[in-house]
């Protein structure tokens, strides 16, 4: 029953590049010519020498068409052509030679400018001129889809984030960092822009590992979602009905308008967005569980430093940390210290996922690059300041040294308000 319900919700991968309009992909002009199939090998070999297609590597040199009576017609790309240039004047002499020696009759045609990023794009491209399609060479779990079991987990963690976001009157953003290999919450945080207790140490660890009730309460929420069936999350739902002005990533510049005077126990901190606080907590947890590197010679483990986009499988890491949730922190710490031989400390948040109710702003999104988060799941887009597709698209910035995969969990706005009102007392 649960699985059935999850089927109605969707998890959408937010790609590195803005997808092109399928039927209107950018094109470029090239000179092409029909050729005699008998000469094809010779001509293509020669063309690859004298006129390689430098910027169009995804484009196939030869187009093969089967004509009405089973006749095969081959056309070959000779070279790139600039727009409006239908003269062959600019063509290099070696190519001119080839054209005349095989008596080719060049014509101008279009090819797709960019390599296809999806099978659908590729199929459309081939209607114009054949291209090759290489599905991504690296895979971060989920880009190619989630199993029922995994999506169930993803929804539970997202609901946990939503519960947190709505847990205290004003709706804020919330972040939950998870070790997916152990299905374990590493840290969780709400925006602390207007309610930052100076007692930092206090806030950091308590949230770490020992949330025994996490799953049971999440289950209840899941079932509540189920009673409000068939959320039609479409484009119109991108506009939430309420402004949610308490969400820091949505209104990063709002803090300055507050007239609030700081009181003894509360400070305002304009940069303490949920994701920043969650990263801080995960670091505090790391320092707590693995107190000192000098003492035990432990080195943080980063599995794929040079090629972070292949994003280190968490399975390679020992699952010793926090798999036994019922322990308190001290027991956990003791256990981990005693099993140092088995235990490898992950480097920062390598292999971890983060769940955010709202798409993070640029500051938060970059913080998650720095901390090496593996996957980001968010529920609602952030048109004001979102950095994962809305305003910027950090997952597509090639120069960055780390790339996470980004997913949107499609949920209706009502899900925010169901979190608390309908959870039965247990």
């Amino acid at each position: 029953m649960m699985n059935k319900q999850f089927d109605t919700c969707e998890i959408v991968h937010i790609p590195e590049k803005e997808p092109h309009d399928l039927h209107n992909q950018p094109t470029e002009f090239v000179f092409a010519s029909a050729i005699d199939p008998q000469n094809a090998n010779h001509i293509v070999r020669r063309l690859n020498q004298i006129a390689p297609l430098e910027n169009l590597r995804h484009v196939k040199r030869i187009q093969k068409k089967v004509l009405e009576r089973g006749q095969v017609q081959l056309s070959v790309i000779l070279c790139a052509a600039s727009e409006g240039d239908n003269q062959l004047d600019s063509v290099p002499p070696a190519l001119q030679e080839l054209i005349s020696s095989f008596q080719l009759s060049p014509f101008i045609t279009k090819v797709c400018k960019y390599a296809a990023t999806s099978k659908e794009e590729w199929q459309e491209q081939c209607k114009i001129w054949p291209t090759s399609y290489h599905p991504r060479t690296y895979n971060i779990d989920g880009i190619t889809g989630f199993s029922d079991e995994n999506s169930e987990c993803i929804f539970k963690f997202m609901q946990s984030a939503m519960e947190l976001a709505t847990s205290d009157g004003v709706v804020v953003n919330a972040a939950v960092i998870v070790d997916p290999s152990a299905k374990q919450i590493i840290s969780r945080a709400r925006d602390q822009v207007f309610a930052w207790s100076t007692n930092k140490e206090n806030s950091s660890i308590d949230s770490s590992c020992n949330r025994k009730s996490e799953f049971s309460s999440s289950d209840v929420i899941s079932n509540n979602f189920a009673t409000h069936e068939s959320f039609q999350v479409n484009e119109s739902n991108n506009q939430l009905k309420q402004p949610y002005t308490g969400v820091a990533c949505l209104y990063p510049w709002q803090w300055a308008k507050q007239q609030l005077h700081s009181q003894s126990s509360y400070y305002c901190h304009p940069l303490r967005h949920a994701a920043m606080v969650a990263v801080e907590s995960s670091a505090a947890r790391d320092r707590y569980i693995f107190p000192s590197e000098e003492n035990n010679g432990e080195k943080p483990l980063e599995l794929d430093h040079e090629n972070p986009s292949s994003t280190s499988s968490p399975a390679k890491r020992q699952k010793t940390v926090c798999t036994t949730v019922e322990n308190d922190d001290d027991q956990l710490k003791a256990r981990n210290q005693s099993s140092n031989q088995l235990l490898e400390r992950p480097y920062l948040c390598t292999g971890y996922d983060i769940y955010l109710v709202w798409e993070p702003c640029t500051m938060c999104a970059m913080a998650l690059v720095h901390q090496r988060i593996r996957r980001i799941f968010y529920a609602f887009p952030n048109r004001n300041a979102g950095a994962l597709g809305s305003v910027h698209r950090l997952q597509g910035e090639k120069s960055l040294n780390h790339h996470y995969a980004v997913f949107r969990v499609l949920l209706p706005e009502e899900a925010l308000h169901k979190c608390h009102t309908e959870v039965p007392q247990t």
């Binding site: 510049w253 507050q258 007239q259 609030l260 940069l271 990263v279 970059m366 901390q371 120069s399």
Partner: protein
């Protein structure tokens, strides 16, 4: 003109002092100072290794000092905002995308930096968040605040620090699969702010 120039260099030297402190603590050597009314009111240096929190860049450290100080002194949020709008940051390396966003959120007035940050830079190298100035049409909450930004102040000193750091190897960094020795300035800067 010359005076303001030498003043800029004087303040950048203080930022470099901070970077040196980071180096001594085996942290990536990036440092900064924040100046208000011609006076240095805060300083910071990279602290990512010690905290195991890769967001603890020099700028974040220096900003946290101020926020705590000002609120201890009873300033309201609008007064804090007013303060930041009169602050200038001197930092040895171009603020990364995270820090540049943070500086925009805080509404800082101006930034001077040393070397550029080809891999993460948020003030022109990768994104240009300092130009991010859009007032909302209804004049309520701004959708972005820009700040004035000037690079290349004592850039070679800043680069030299980073080169020294990476040539001697960062004992706290996880073992990279390739040697740490740096072939060019460009590669070296790619390692900044890790």
């Amino acid at each position: 003109m010359n005076d303001s120039c030498s003043e800029t260099v004087r303040l950048m030297k203080l930022a470099i002092d901070q970077a040196n402190l980071a180096m001594d603590a085996l942290e990536v050597p990036v440092g900064c100072v924040i100046v208000h009314d011609g006076k240095v009111i805060s300083s910071g240096r990279n602290r990512t290794t010690e905290t195991r929190n890769a967001t603890r860049h020099a700028e974040m450290e220096a900003v946290d000092v101020l926020l705590e100080q000002w609120q201890k002194n009873g300033l309201s949020m609008s007064e804090v905002a007013e303060k930041f709008s009169n602050c200038t940051l001197y930092v040895t390396c171009e603020p990364c995308i995270m820090c540049a966003s943070a500086l925009s959120i805080l509404g800082i007035k101006e930034v001077f930096y040393g070397c550029s940050n080809d891999k993460f830079g948020g003030c022109g190298s990768i994104l240009s968040l300092h130009q991010n100035s859009t007032d909302s049409p209804n004049n309520e909450v701004p959708l972005g605040k820009g700040f004035k930004c000037t690079g290349g102040i004592m850039a070679s000193e800043a680069v030299l620090l980073l080169r020294t750091f990476y040539e001697q190897g960062n004992p706290n960094a996880p073992k990279p699969h390739r040697p740490v020795a740096v072939a060019s300035d460009k590669n070296e800067l790619e390692l900044v702010h890790q």
